[in-house]
């Protein structure tokens, strides 16, 4: 079920009203059932009726077979959590480790099977080990990358004694499946979720107002900005051979903004919906497109994911408190993982390694006296230049992220650095260039002015906010139902 569909509106109002008429475990049970229903609303596009038990379940009874994977992961992690605690109390270290391992194997195994089987077969093929002519058709269950990570962080935290396991399977199942964050994040930590579940935040008129504004701005970001930018992005990536570097740069930058608006829009809606239900999720984006450097960017972009890989991969590997060689290894291993998480393909791996490379360059550059020198010379000019430079570096990486394969990405990257033959006198998508400048300026402006503060400051600001967003959606919204980009991960 998409947030930008009429079914969701009905579902949301129904869940909100009925859910709030119930209390305690009945309410949690209701939210859990509602979340599973929400998940079942996702239609696996590749299912062909009459081809087996899975398709029959879906076609004849409307049961989404991929719900089984979610339930399986939930049960394993719940019992793994309980097992880890019991083993710890009895001081059985091997059993404790086995419990954690079972959780990791189930989650990584499930994710690996659905997401990486064809990639691994492709690599085997490319290396010439085997000649595979036909790859299995595997449908990636929506949200699997998000809920498996959420589940894994729970068992890892219990293993390292950072939290106790949840005794109620109902609570844990709700943590894994809670619908606002289920299919595209944010990857909520168990501690945060159970904190709010145990002490539900007061839902008063002000919090409803805040939640409503988050949902509205989420829709504006998605329908107005992301879906309009999608036009130039789709055109650029489909016709790159006919375009010159300036037009391709515009398309690449537009893709950066598109994916930002799309994903940030989704999480804004998720956070807003969760707040209306009494949960306060941490922000997942904090205006990352106008950052002064790449390290700054990664503290503001997909925060729940970047902190996840920091806490569960980078730091356990030793982080930066190791020798230079090991530091590089840790950095690239972490970003290789980040690339693979987004998708099992060479271009995602390259994108991940490009992030690692940029972070390494930034680290090296920061350790020199150059930044201070430039800042001393002209701070304002330096900051503007740094932000623009960062954005172009990110856009270069976004070409790898968006291209369907590495061959296409390399072709486009060659054009971006003027290696291919070019004609520069034409700039047909200049309107989108102007839109990108507007996006940049407004993003910079709003990064200094949080929405919550803006709407609560003065009486007239809430109506103005609602009207401006309503008219933007009305006038410039793309009404054809478009899916969110991050659903594919």
């Amino acid at each position: 079920m998409l947030f930008n569909s009429s079914q969701f509106l009905i579902f949301f109002l129904f869940t909100l009203i009925i859910g709030n008429l119930l209390q305690n475990k009945w309410q949690r049970l209701f939210f859990l059932i509602a979340s599973y229903y929400f998940y079942m609303g996702w239609e696996p596009s590749d299912i062909k009726c009459g081809t087996g038990v899975i398709s029959d379940l879906y076609c004849n009874y409307g049961i989404n077979p991929y719900l089984g994977i979610l339930l399986f992961s939930t049960f394993v992690d719940y019992w793994a959590g309980i097992g880890i605690e019991k083993a710890d109390l009895k001081n059985k270290r091997q059993l404790k480790w086995l419990c954690l391992l079972s959780s990791l194997l189930v989650n990584i195994g499930t994710l690996g099977f659905f997401k990486y089987t064809n990639f691994i077969l492709g690599v085997i093929n490319d290396l010439g080990i085997l000649e595979i002519t036909e790859f299995p058709k595997i449908v990636l269950p929506v949200g699997i990358s998000f809920y498996t990570f959420q589940s894994m962080s729970y068992t890892i935290d219990i293993y390292f004694g950072k939290m106790s396991p949840r005794k109620s399977i109902l609570d844990f199942a709700l943590y894994v499946a809670f619908f606002p964050q289920l299919v595209a994040g944010p990857i909520v930590r168990a501690g945060v979720f159970f904190r709010d579940l145990d002490n539900r935040l007061k839902v008063d008129a002000d919090s409803l107002r805040w939640g409503f504004c988050m949902i509205l701005i989420g829709f504006t970001r998605k329908i107005v900005f992301a879906d309009n930018l999608a036009r130039v992005v789709d055109y650029t990536f489909a016709n790159h051979a006919l375009l010159n570097p300036i037009e391709i740069w515009t398309g690449a930058l537009a893709f950066g903004w598109q994916i930002y608006f799309d994903f940030a829009g989704y999480t804004d809606i998720a956070i807003g919906v969760a707040r209306i239900f009494g949960f306060q999720f941490d922000p997942n984006f904090n205006f990352p497109m106008s950052c002064r450097n790449i390290a700054d960017h990664w503290t503001k972009w997909h925060i729940s994911f970047s902190t996840w890989i920091r806490d569960y991969i980078y730091i356990p590997l030793g982080g930066s408190r190791v020798g230079p060689f090991r530091y590089c290894l840790n950095l690239f291993a972490t970003w290789l993982f980040a690339g693979l998480w987004h998708g099992a393909a060479y271009h995602y791996v390259s994108w991940g390694l490009w992030q690692g490379f940029m972070l390494l360059c930034h680290k090296l550059y920061s350790s020199t006296s150059l930044p201070q020198f430039f800042e001393k010379k002209s701070q304002r000019f330096y900051l503007i230049w740094a932000r623009i430079f960062t954005m172009f570096c990110l856009a270069f990486g976004f070409v790898m992220f968006r291209a369907e394969n590495m061959t296409k990405a390399l072709e486009m990257m060659k054009s971006l650095v003027f290696i291919n033959e070019v004609t520069l006198y034409r700039y047909e998508n200049y309107r989108f260039g102007i839109l990108l400048i507007i996006c940049y300026i407004t993003s910079y402006y709003f990064s200094k002015r949080p929405i919550g503060k803006m709407i609560s400051d003065k009486d007239w600001r809430f109506p103005l906010f609602v009207l401006v967003n309503t008219f933007m959606i009305l006038l410039f919204g793309v009404t054809e139902n478009q899916s969110f980009l991050y659903f594919q991960f």
């Binding site: 009429s6 709030n20 839902v203 008063d204 008129a205 919090s207 409803l208 107002r209 409503f212 016709n239 006919l242 009486d459 007239w460 809430f462 109506p463 609602v466 009207l467 309503t470 009305l474 006038l475 410039f476 009404t479």
Partner: protein, 374 residues
Amino acid sequence: MLKALKDFFFQRDWAIIFSVLIGLELILQLGFYKPFLKKNSYAANINLVTSKAIETKESLNPNVLVLGTSIAFEGISLPILNETLARKGIRVQTLAVRASELVVQHAILQKYLAEFPNVKQIVHIMEPGMPWVDRDTLTDPTLVMLSEVSPWQSNQFIYDFEYKSKVTDLLSVSLKTISYRKDFADFLLNTSDRIKYLSKRSKEEKTSWVHDNDTIESIEGYHLKDLQDCLDRLGPNGQTSIPSDSNPDHKRMVYETCLVSIGVPKESQSTTESDRYFRRLKKNYKLVLDKGIRITNIMAPYSSLLFIYNDSNKMKVWEEGLKYALDGRQKLDLIDLQKSLGSIDNGTYCYDLIHLNAKGKEIFTQKLIEALNY
């Protein structure tokens, strides 16, 4: 929670928000924005056709009305028609609107037919077999035009004409704030062009005719072999150069009509869709026949590239369908002018695959006069 919801929805801010939205809707419903609509937009076009017909009804006093969609709008010259037929006492006015499906034509007839009490004949220009004639989903142009003609009755028409409608379609027909949304956006993005047009329009001379097609572009220079050839050569990856009687916009239009035409139903026998079309047509014709007006059906000409679709079997289906629509209340008066511009290659008369240019309009109008045989 319920108290919180009550506090939230009963705060004064919502009164301000809804006052603004309702106020704007009222202004739009009262027609204050109509003069500012974008030139040649579907909304502006239907307003222009209907208002011109009403404006000149006293002076022209028509006894024949033309009804139809693009070919009727682009392909018939009212000045030629009226000049030639004046001595025979025939006075023709048009209610044909570009891209109007039957439901829009029905809305127009419902609202305006009573304004022309002396009309004795309706010349209905048909576009047999075209993919848009029997759609069951509502497109933006149809919604916009329905909203212009009769915003409050159109939901009933949509139901009667068996469309699969969504809530947003119904809202779009009834609420001008939604119906005009693309026009507003265009006004904001192209403010200077729109203002220039408005000031130019106020200086324009007024004529009795709503539109007289003066396009000179044709598809002849492209030497198209068939639809696939058109898609291959004129599409985004095609390398065909632009001939002297064309331009980039025209080339794009030709390509788009090829793209639409490739979806023309291939079946020669009657289908669920064609049956639905004739059920719709029956509703239209009931309005006309109830007033004692005679209907003459004209099969319109379009590019010879499309001749392959309309074989004799399909034409038989159409004949039967038209008889069904007339419901035995009138003998079928059908004139087939599909090949009136030439039966092998009529590219010189076609702006694109489904619209005539000025040359095509003149020839078709002459052929129509001859065929009507007053």
